[in-house]
Amino acid sequence: MNTLAEPTDFAFDEAAEADVLVAIARYPAGKQASAVMPLLEIAQRQMKRVTGSAWLPRLAMDVVAKRLGMAPVRVYEMATFYLMYNLQPVGKYHLQLCTTTPCWLRGSDDVVAACKKITGIHGFGETSADGMFTMTEVECLGACVNAPILQINDDYYEDLDGARTEALLETLKSGGALPAPGSTVGRHASEPEGGRSVLLATTSTGE
């Protein structure tokens, strides 16, 4: 099955429909157009669930427009403005690489190179030949303390270097599941490397 083809029809399935109702109910009657962003996300997640590729075909945008009583172009404006809506099919693993200054200082170039090497992709915006990976360059992901960051689908993988990136992608390429997200060097949350160094005494409130 070619999962990247433009679908011929789109309708919210049962699981999505439940989310749609919740999203619309958040806004007062007559203001349901406010639910456009959640609905687009629900549509994109449904595409991921059904076809394996998280993207928004135009048909899905038209369905959202109709559902919310909006002109279709108002939905296109929305979907094209935000980078997290994918207007083209993406691979099973959407690699979103941060190359903004903190990540770049901490070696994001190595991460980019590792991604290219393993996936065979030549540049940002491309999808690998096997349809597994799509590489996108993104601006700051807001996790600079654990730079450099690679976001795969919904999860952050932090503290990467070239070798660990290669290992991570090799696992995925050979059919392995996504490992637990977070730091790849065992860092807890955004504590210093090597563990906590201050506030070590437990307080009366517990930790």
Binding site: R58, A71, P72, V73, R74, Y76, E77, T80, F81
Partner: protein, 685 residues
């Protein structure tokens, strides 16, 4: 009201006005690209910066700044000039320097303002951005690299035209104005985007690379391609009309114009009748005026008046119709008719056939019932006025007839006349809306009148108007939506069968021996009796001319001065922009000449005398440019003949782009039909 000072000039403007409006009132011009008085305020071009005292010390965008009492505004201070220069520099960063090949050159807001606020060179050394052009159909040409993102086109299509197809897609440096999906704009008002665009991003495709504005001779005229009577400016170079633009008239067309009225202009050069023709042994042969007149005089000699008939077409000026009517009565004929479509229009009282509410009056109405009309196709600018009222809120609309996208919401009561009954007896819910409205109005279209039960439909609509209190001393809610520009003037002149005269149906099928068609093409010419001698006087080789025995080449509306009365009864005069082609002549002159030739010389020798005669026949023609809403004090209605049938109502205009000889000759209109009606055509086959 708030009093404020702008550049030392004191003005008083209503509360809630903006500073730019106050400046307008004070006569101070503020440059602007995105602000437009008929559109919502966007505030994104930043060109209208002004300095306001006692505000934070920075320039303020005057289009979005509400006035307040005692404000002191400077529109030309050093801070303002520096601010505008900065804005201009940023606008020009990505704007190409292609003015010499840009059609907007000479009438470009950006070009004009760059003279005042532009630098002589750019400090920007990076690459300019380039944007791919869009295909928006046969009317609007796009050069999107020139776009400065003022969003006027987006706001116009969403707010005025009611066809929200344009948007700003992508963002930041990549932002583009477009439809996202490739398709032609489906609005009948898309030509107005060209006027609104302050730069050369949107220009007229049919007019591309044709002329510069300063080469054109500009003549005021009146549009005749629908019955609204839109005020237009005809731009011509030499003997050729190159384009037509709307003129501002807040009571008629505001500043809009339909695409047909604007772009049928290339039809004025094609299929023209530029010399007289005479049918000899079944074939039309070119002839001289003398020969044509002789052929007509020969046939009319000795023919009794009641065997001669005349039909006036949809594009005629009042003067030529009056000359024809006078000639017919001199010949002893009462067989005259202007209702080519057979519409059951009652000429006995003016309010039976006028758009009585008046066009601007729509904005005072608070409920609307449309019967057998599609205003969007029959008069798109009028439809924009209805939409304007609808957008303001509190305006329930209902439709009886063919369902269509009218650009506003309406309740569809039914397809046939039975729906009228459900309103009359109150069984339909909309009756309540009409009853509770203070100024309700009815619009009845030609689709409801041009059918066998048309008279009954007219009477039924009038009865509804009376029943729901639409007629009173200061409101008149009964409206006929016309599709023919000449119709109201013709009815005012009494261009309908006189005592014992035949109407169009009786004249066809051999009812007369000689038939004079004054630009009449909109009826089935095959129904003319085989033995009937047909004289066609007009400007295009269309249906009437192909059936004619003698063709007299007349002038199109751009080629003659003329008086036209629009559907609300407003008498307007157009001027002559160019001369008629070849041997063609102004229509009243042809009629004056032939009348003398056949021994019934008309009693006027020049246009002034003819206009005096016009006012003598009906004093309304003396009150040019004036329209006064008739008081609905006489509730007695038109004579009903029988009861409405049960056939479904359809709009009189199925194909907006081709309704008359001019638009049928226009390649641009043909392209519009191909772009917009393919689906319809396939479905019909």
């Amino acid at each position: 009201m708030a009093k404020l000072t702008i550049d030392g000039i004191e003005v008083e403007v209503p509360n809630g006005s903006t500073v730019i409006q106050a400046a307008e009132a004070a006569g101070v011009e503020i440059p602007r690209f995105c602000y437009h008085e008929r559109l919502s305020v966007a505030g994104n071009c930043r060109m209208c910066l002004v300095e306001i005292e006692k505000m934070p010390p920075k320039p303020v965008a005057s289009c979005g700044m509400p006035v307040s009492e005692g404000m002191v505004v400077h529109t030309d201070s050093e801070m303002v000039r520096r601010g505008r220069r900065g804005v201009m520099e940023f606008l020009l960063i990505n704007h190409p320097l292609d003015c010499p090949i840009c059609d907007q050159g000479g009438e470009c807001d950006l070009q004009d303002e760059a003279v005042g606020y532009g630098r002589d060179h750019s400090r920007y050394d990076e690459n300019k951005r380039a944007v791919g052009n869009k295909d928006w159909g046969p009317i609007v040409k796009t050069v999107m690299t020139r776009c400065i993102h003022c969003t006027r086109c987006i706001r116009f299509s969403a707010e005025i035209a009611g066809v929200p197809e344009l948007g700003a897609v992508y963002r930041g440096e990549s932002m583009e104005v477009g439809t996202y999906v490739d398709k032609p704009l489906s609005s009948e008002l898309s030509g107005n985007l060209i006027d609104l665009c302050p730069v050369g991003a949107l220009t007229a495709k049919p007019y591309a690379f044709t002329a510069r504005t300063w080469e054109l001779r500009k003549t005021d005229s009146i549009d005749v391609l629908d019955a609204l009577g839109a005020n237009i400016r005809v731009d011509a170079r030499g003997a050729e009309v190159l384009r037509i633009l709307p003129r501002r008239n807040d009571e008629v067309n505001e500043e809009w114009l339909g695409d047909k009225s604007r772009f049928s202009v290339d039809g004025l050069k094609r299929r023209r009748l530029d010399k007289p023709w005479i049918r000899k042994s079944g074939k039309l042969q070119p002839a001289s005026w003398e020969e044509a007149f002789a052929a007509i005089a020969d046939r009319l000699k000795g023919m009794p008046g009641e065997r001669i008939g005349a039909i006036a077409g949809d594009l005629c000026d009042a003067e030529s119709m009056l000359a024809l009517k006078d000639m017919m009565s001199a010949l002893g004929s009462a067989n005259i008719d202007c209702r080519q479509d057979g519409a059951a229009l009652d000429a006995s009282r003016r309010e039976f056939y006028l758009f009585n509410t008046t066009i601007a009056g729509i904005e005072e109405a608070d409920a609307l019932l449309i019967i057998g009309a599609n205003p969007r196709r029959e008069s798109p600018v009028l439809n924009a006025r209805i939409r304007k009222r609808w957008v303001a809120g509190g305006f329930p609309v209902a439709l009886i007839g063919e369902h269509a996208d009218l650009t506003y919401d309406f309740e569809h009561i039914g397809n046939g006349p039975a729906a009228l009954q459900s309103l009359a007896d109150g069984s339909h819910g909309f009756a309540e809306a009409l009853k509770s409205a203070k100024n309700p109005m009815i619009i009845i279209g030609q689709g409801a009148l041009a059918r066998p039960d048309g008279a009954a439909m007219l009477a039924a609509a009038w009865a509804l108007a009376v029943q729901f209190g639409m007629l009173n001393a200061d409101w008149h809610g009964f409206n006929v939506l016309h599709t023919a520009a000449s119709r109201v003037a013709a009815l005012d002149l009494g261009f309908v069968p006189g005592a014992g005269g035949k109407d169009i149906a009786a004249m066809l099928g051999g009812g007369v021996d000689a038939l004079w068609l004054l630009g009449a093409d909109e009826f089935d010419t095959a129904k003319i009796g085989a033995e009937t001698f047909v004289i066609y006087q007009g400007h295009h080789g269309d249906a009437g001319a192909s059936r004619a025995d003698v063709i007299l080449p007349g002038a199109a509306y751009t080629e003659k001065p003329g008086t036209y009365t629009n559907m609300e009864g407003r008498v307007q005069q157009g001027f002559m922009a160019v001369s008629p082609p070849g041997d063609a002549r102004e229509d009243w002159r042809i009629l004056r000449a032939i009348s003398a030739y056949i021994g019934h010389a008309l009693p006027y020798d020049n246009f002034v005398e003819l206009r005096a005669r016009l006012a003598q026949v009906n004093p309304v023609f003396a009150a040019v440019e004036q329209v006064r809403r008739l008081a609905g004090t006489d509730a007695s209605g038109p004579v009903a003949q029988g009861a409405p049938g049960d056939a479904a109502l359809v709009s009189a205009v199925q194909n907006y782009y081709q309704t008359d000889p001019i638009s049928r000759a226009s390649p641009t209109m043909a392209a519009c039909v191909a772009a917009h009606y393919t689906v319809v055509a396939e479905a019909a086959e």
